[in-house]
Subunit: 333 residues, 2 copies
């Protein structure tokens, strides 16, 4: 692998060392029912069982744990209404540093509560709400970072965040053995870029496939165009993949190492959420269903192969989850 | 351990050898949130991730795999509307023998469908329905067994079923290391008796505690009276623990090796089901919540200890599960 990508395999290996004893080594699970349905042998890497419920902990902890003493003393700032917020808040607590999380004031109350929960015990930490229709998040963040000397950690477009995310694929391959393919959801591209770097180093013949929600296929478009395409915020239940474009650092990795990006519909995500709950007894958030849905619902055929599937997270509001799994079975589900 | 109990540790070790490559070695999971709530260090043995969704596969497969060629040719019969039915059907399919499962005609359609699903591909296998208000299940079963030469496998009161169940505790201790206590749900006593035999052999100082639903505390009563007490079929959401009495083989093991049996309410089971879904991203059936509920809801205090907790299964109808987790939060939950 040439050195002009934002990260190399050594960065992923370094992140794994950094995370040892702090992140969970999540289980790799199999399901004969899933295998029969796809005609392939699937290995599910269960990042829904990661600390704070998603792979995001890996990148956040890897980054925050490398702060200088001065950075640690002043603390971290992040913008997110989702898993990145919780990942930064929890990593900061583990490392004894203050965190400031900037969230839209209409963020789901459960996510607000979870983020504040992780900040408990540190009086210097806080959630700052902003009005996403009136205020400029970037300007607000820049001002806060400046005033308080906080270090900003972006959700995906950062080498240590990408390398941390890649440890999920590293562990998966260590535990499942050689794989022919790896299927990963795509939002901003942090997980798939880190994972592709790890997988392609360990198994040079592996095919890496990305999966986006049908409504938000910016990365697929970007690959076709050969440059980063920006879209409107997509309407999809896969809230972790509601990104408008991939990152300046993640996209070149995807271009180089990812074979294809396919899409699945929200109805296919719901069918997969039901499959995980009914057959594998797991709570998986819509975004976490993307990779598996591509295989279980037929968007991607990998018959006869050994396939790694990253289940990226499980943070879905219980009432919403009950609605998804308890509702009428969607057509074709 | 004296030899007058129905099983010894060697039977559990033998069952583990029999199950290798056939049962899943289920993960042992931890949760800092659970630990903080109980003031103990909990190790959850996730039998909801076992094949067919419950520990019952262990006992059924251990028993069926030891059939003589003649027994295998003729097949197996079991009575159950629950996990034992599915465990026997799936084990029989794996072993290429016919299974006849006798279920009440008002059994949940999902359980009927699941059992028939496991029987697919074997034309000699069938589900036989009976009217539980008019027909005598025992007589029906005896007649079928006689006519067809089928071998009856009971759900818990059988040495190989008990020894198979005990492999869950064996694996838990192998993976979690030394434990101070083990907490196990109690229905007919198959799981707790097998587990106690394994645990007390490996860790002679361990305390084994049982947990029953409040409405069905026959085993607690039996221990107090020093003999098997029979109760009316209890009304509880923990359908796997709706037994009227423990077994002739299981009770003496419980008497000898179990330190206490405590009870939890259905509301506490629902609170625990929510905890598992929200914080540990797992689907756990009500019976599977019994052991954890005792700790998380305060029926059993084991502060400062390393405690193994068996999560016995995850087979709950999705619509019912959605109702439990999506409903109004029960008081104190």
């Amino acid at each position: 692998m040439s050195t002009d990508l934002a990260i190399r395999f050594d960065d992923v290996r370094g992140a794994a060392a950094q995370l040892a004893g702090h992140a969970h080594r999540t289980p790799v699970r199999t399901s004969r029912t899933a295998d029969e349905r796809c005609g392939a042998q699937l290995f599910f890497k269960c990042e829904n069982f990661q600390r704070m419920g998603a792979f995001k902990f890996r990148g956040a902890y890897n980054t925050l744990s490398r702060f200088t003493p001065e950075q640690k003393r002043r603390g971290v700032i992040a913008f997110s209404s989702g898993n990145h917020a919780q990942a930064v808040a929890l990593s900061a607590r583990d490392l004894g540093m203050p965190s400031v999380i900037v969230m839209p004031q209409d963020a789901p109350p459960a996510k607000l509560a979870a983020t504040r929960g992780y900040q408990q015990g540190d009086a210097r930490s806080e959630v700052i709400l902003y009005d996403r229709y009136r205020e400029d998040r970037e300007a607000l963040g820049a001002r806060l970072a400046e005033e308080r000397g906080l270090t900003l950690v972006p959700p995906f477009d950062h080498p240590q965040v990408m390398a941390g995310a890649g440890t999920a694929a590293l562990e998966l391959i260590e535990d499942a053995g050689p794989l022919d393919a790896l299927v990963v959801c795509v939002g901003g591209g942090g997980l798939i870029s880190g994972s592709a770097v790890a997988a392609c180093h360990l198994l040079p013949q592996i095919e890496v496939h990305g999966v986006e929600p049908e409504a938000g296929d910016d990365t697929r478009q970007s690959l076709a165009r050969g440059e980063i395409v920006r879209i409107e915020t997509p309407k999809t239940i896969a809230d972790g993949a509601q990104t408008q474009h991939s990152g300046r650092l993640t996209f070149p990795v995807i271009q180089r190492l990812v074979k294809s990006v396919v899409t699945v519909s929200d109805a296919q995500l719901v069918a997969t959420m039901r499959f995980f709950a009914e057959r594998m007894k797991m709570v998986v958030e819509p975004t976490g269903c993307l990779a598996a849905a591509a295989l279980l619902e037929g968007a991607l055929e990998l018959r006869g192969r050994r396939v790694g599937v990253i289940v990226s997270g499980g943070n879905v509001d219980l009432a919403a989850f009950a609605g998804f799994i308890g509702g009428a079975r969607p057509g074709g589900g």
